[in-house]
């Protein structure tokens, strides 16, 4: 105990001293580290910050032949078109239906699954299950959509089995309600295995001491899960939930685009597919930029809010 306190004091003293040093001497001392970080900083600058200048497109009527510099400025026209469109609210609602459901399920299911898997004692079985459930993550949506279109067609595998069992055939991809379910569940199915890894990793850091002492105190497995496993997963869950909130307006273009059809536009059209059809296919890049900016803006607000909430309720700072 004593030694640790003493070492801490020494560390703090060191930090204070370093604060007093000038930037230059810090550079002199750590020049190798600087050298190592610079390429990353530069790459980040070039590929993430410079392109931000493209935001100007959202306020122009961008024409490839004229470029950023000469395209005419149109103020907020692109946003006016977007929000003025009758169906925009519908499109926004579809986006939120998809993304919120995916958001909640993609946290809850991996969370629960990780806890269950953590209880499995047989290592080999655990590994096998883990591998099987995270494999779909690596399929591209183009491939998977092709498979789903075939399996869920009215003459497909699923419907054939259902018909044999005496059930009605369902047009999964031609009916708005079933289309939504298909999209949400196929997304969760595809990604829950991969998302589980994060929670499993967090569980490996839980000290076995805690479980041992809980056992001595007479807690059964269920109690242990309730009072040790779940609380120790809360921080990582908060991080995941907060970060994922930023992408709430991304309902997965790849997936919806490859699965939808005019029959279900009303319940399936999301912001990205809408912009693709209305904007990109007819060369309206500015509309695409405006939507991108709008989405980032909402994302920023959501992240800020959830960051504050996370700090207030769990006293946990993400960054």
């Amino acid at each position: 105990m004593n030694t640790r306190m003493w070492r801490n004091r020494k560390l703090h003293a060191g930090a204070r001293r370093r604060n007093r040093e000038t930037a230059l001497s810090s550079l002199r001392r750590n020049w190798v580290l600087h050298l190592m970080v610079w390429p990353a900083v530069i790459l980040f600058f070039i590929f993430s910050y410079l392109p931000m200048a493209g935001i100007v497109m959202a306020f122009q009527n961008f024409k490839p032949g004229l470029g950023f510099l000469n395209s005419p400025w149109v103020g907020l026209d692109q946003f006016r078109f977007l929000f003025g469109y009758d169906n925009f609210l519908k499109v926004l609602r579809n986006t939120l239906v998809f993304s919120l459901s995916k958001y909640v399920l993609n946290i809850l299911i991996p969370f629960g699954f990780a806890i269950l898997l953590n209880e499995v004692r047989n290592r080999r079985y655990k590994r096998t299950v883990q591998t099987i459930v995270y494999l779909p993550y690596f399929l591209s949506w183009v491939t998977l959509a092709g498979i789903l279109l075939d399996m869920l067609s009215t003459q497909g595998l699923v419907n054939t089995v259902m018909a044999r069992l005496g059930m009605e055939r369902i047009m999964f991809l031609g009916d708005g309600f079933w289309f939504r379910l298909t999209v949400i569940f196929s997304d969760v199915w595809k990604s829950f295995g991969f998302n589980t890894i994060l929670y499993l990793a967090a569980l490996t850091t839980v000290s076995p001491d805690l479980y041992e002492s809980a056992e001595i105190d007479g807690a059964n497995r269920f109690r242990q899960t309730l009072h040790i496993t779940i609380p120790s997963l809360v921080p990582i869950t908060v991080v995941v939930a907060t970060l994922a909130l930023g992408g709430l307006l991304n309902a997965n273009f790849d997936q919806v685009f490859n699965l939808y059809n005019p029959m279900v536009y009303e319940k399936a059209d999301i912001i990205d597919t809408f912009v693709y059809r209305i904007g990109l296919l007819s060369g309206k890049y500015s509309l695409g930029a405006a939507v991108g900016l709008f989405k980032s803006f909402i994302g920023l607000i959501l992240i800020t809010i959830s960051y504050r909430l996370a700090y207030r309720f769990t006293n946990y700072r993400i960054f």
């Binding site: 020049w31 032949g65 031609g174 029959m263 007819s282 060369g283």
Partner: protein, 569 residues
């Protein structure tokens, strides 16, 4: 001291790295050689165009064909049978500066090039969407082509262009044409109904002539299927609605034609104006009929989710007996049905008549596919014409004994085998020449035949269909390449050409079209598919038409008609 030196060294290094990376990102310096001004015409001498050859040779930068190129022998992108021929024949050194992997990356590359002011190739061919063509023309980097057309276009080309001046319309800006249309076979995009003749025969049914006939046929196909499928397995009439009622395969325009309208195009009305086909009352009746057939199980329930190719699969599997498509569907992909059902006989059928005796379908005699744009800084626009004229006159329909009688290049697409010249692909393969279109990266990007005379294709097919022996090398080639069904289809299509309607609007998108068309078209797709399933009824269709007009359709119609007047006067 040494510390400082180290610091400075670090800074210098870092800056060097920044610069290095930046340099990589900047616009690449234009290292494509400027076209060397070829033969400086001295007084009284003939121009290279008249001579048919540049001496000394000029360089022309260009775009190679999209896709994975395959070359024979030691050929490469810029040194192959085609480029050597161009250099030898015309003194044109074709240098491919772009080699697109696929259509999307080609489009992106072109857009990047015009927005970053990169030097574009001397000749740029584009065969995809009109939006990108519009952007290219708008960039101001290409030259107006009418003057070169007047001066250099060959007789074959002029013959077609004068009869069909509308081929230039899509490439006009402010009344000036900026692109040289690449000719395509006429009627190649015309569509018709195909039917399983062996099923008809087994059920002793006649070829259907009306929609009512067709209904009986469909009913029998489903409930008395000659191949023994149960009614639950057979959905006799397949098509695709995902991208609209008129499309390139599994299309339905011929069916709507029976109700007096061709959808998704602008049709001339009795009063001389143009009207959009999809919103006509006839379309509603056609859709109601289809809904009825859907309820009766004649149409696969999944058509709304199928794209054009997917819709053919049920036909190929032998579980559908009626499909729409062009003259070539039995060359690909519907010929697949013969793999499993060798006795399957699929025949093209003439236009069927609707309840009022109306008939119709789409037609394409404009026959242009893609466009050649010429860089305004290119000093020798005549070079492209020399090349294209020559191919049109000598390769497109080569005479007996001509240089291209058997193919483009000996050892590539033809060879003398056992003393006999042949272009039969199987024979070539046996002799170690595995023919592939991409051996020759022709400037026009047309696979197989780079220069196509619009009338030649159907003329040859009909001749063959009539049982005449192929005489010209082109006819011989068609006799080898095209199935009997394709020849019959050509004959059927031509016999009813007067009942078909060509899309009368071929101009660049109008102002309101650019603004509103994608939304209008979306409403059309939704209404059409939903009517199939009864989710929208007849009143819903009328509401769609009213909204369509209100939301910009009326304005578009006005603009299209203004354009039509301006070109027909």
């Amino acid at each position: 001291m040494t510390r400082r030196a180290k610091t400075i060294a670090t800074l210098v290094l870092s800056i060097a790295m920044i610069l290095g990376i930046l340099a990589g990102c900047g616009t690449t310096p234009t290292n494509t050689p400027a076209p060397t001004s070829g033969a400086t015409p001295t007084t009284a001498e003939k121009s290279p165009f008249e001579l048919g050859k540049f001496d000394p040779p000029i360089t022309m930068t260009a775009v190679s064909r999209v896709g994975d190129p395959v070359y024979l022998y030691n050929d490469t992108l810029n040194d192959n049978a085609h480029t050597r021929w161009a250099l030898d024949q015309f003194g044109i050194r074709i240098e491919y500066v772009l080699e697109p992997a696929d259509a999307d990356s080609y489009r992106t590359k072109l857009q990047l090039m015009i927005s970053s002011n990169e030097t574009l190739p001397d000749v740029v061919v584009y065969t995809q969407d009109p939006v990108t063509v519009g952007q290219l023309i708008e960039s101001g980097k290409f030259m107006p082509i009418m003057e070169t057309y007047e001066k250099y276009a060959g007789t074959e080309y002029k013959k077609h262009a004068e009869a069909n001046p509308q081929i230039f319309y899509p490439f006009m800006k402010d009344g000036v044409a900026y692109g040289i249309p690449i000719l395509e076979y006429a009627h190649n995009a015309d569509t018709l109904m195909w039917i399983r003749k062996d099923w008809l025969d087994a059920l002793s049914l006649d070829i259907p002539k009306t929609v009512d006939d067709l209904e009986v046929v469909l009913q029998k196909f489903k409930y008395e299927n000659p191949d023994g499928f149960t009614p639950e397995e057979v959905f006799p009439f397949t098509f695709s609605f995902k991208n609209g009622a008129k499309t390139w395969l599994s299309t339905m325009d011929w069916f709507f034609g029976a109700y007096g309208t061709v959808p998704m195009q602008w049709n001339p009305m009795p009063d001389g104006s143009l009207a959009y086909g999809s919103i006509q009352p006839g379309a509603k009746d056609a859709l109601l009929k289809l809904k009825d057939w859907m309820d009766k199980g004649y149409i696969p329930q999944d058509v709304a989710t199928w794209d054009e190719f997917t819709a053919t699969q049920i036909f190929v599997q032998g579980k559908a007996g009626v499909i729409g498509g062009g003259n070539w569907v039995m060359d690909w992909p519907c010929n697949g049905v013969k793999a499993e059902f060798p006795d399957a006989e699929v025949v093209p059928v003439g236009l069927i008549a609707g309840p009022d005796g109306k008939m119709g379908a789409t037609m394409d005699i404009t026959a242009a596919n893609g466009v050649m744009l010429i860089n305004k800084d290119f000093a020798h626009p005549e070079a492209y014409w020399m090349y294209y004229n020559y191919l049109l006159e000598n390769y497109a329909n080569p005479p007996v004994g001509g240089v291209f009688e058997y193919g483009f290049a000996q050892g590539y697409d033809w060879e003398i085998i056992d003393g006999v010249p042949t272009n039969d692909k199987t024979k070539l393969k046996e002799n170690g020449i595995d023919y592939d279109y991409s051996y020759f990266n022709f400037l026009t990007m047309m696979p197989g035949n780079p220069a196509r005379i619009p009338s030649s294709y159907f003329d040859a097919l009909i001749k063959l269909a009539d049982g005449l022996d192929p005489v010209t090398p082109f006819e011989k080639r068609m006799a080898v390449e095209r199935s009997l069904e394709t020849r019959m289809a050509a004959k059927v299509i031509m016999a009813e050409a007067d009942k078909r309607t060509q899309n009368a609007f071929t101009g660049a998108p109008t102002v309101t079209m650019t603004e509103k068309w994608s939304l209008l078209f979306q409403a059309e797709l939704e209404t059409y598919t939903k009517m199939l399933y009864g989710q929208v009824d007849a009143a819903g269709f009328d509401a769609f038409v009213a909204n369509w007009l209100k939301d910009g359709g009326e304005q578009v119609t006005k603009e299209v008609n203004d354009w039509y007047k301006s070109v027909t006067d």
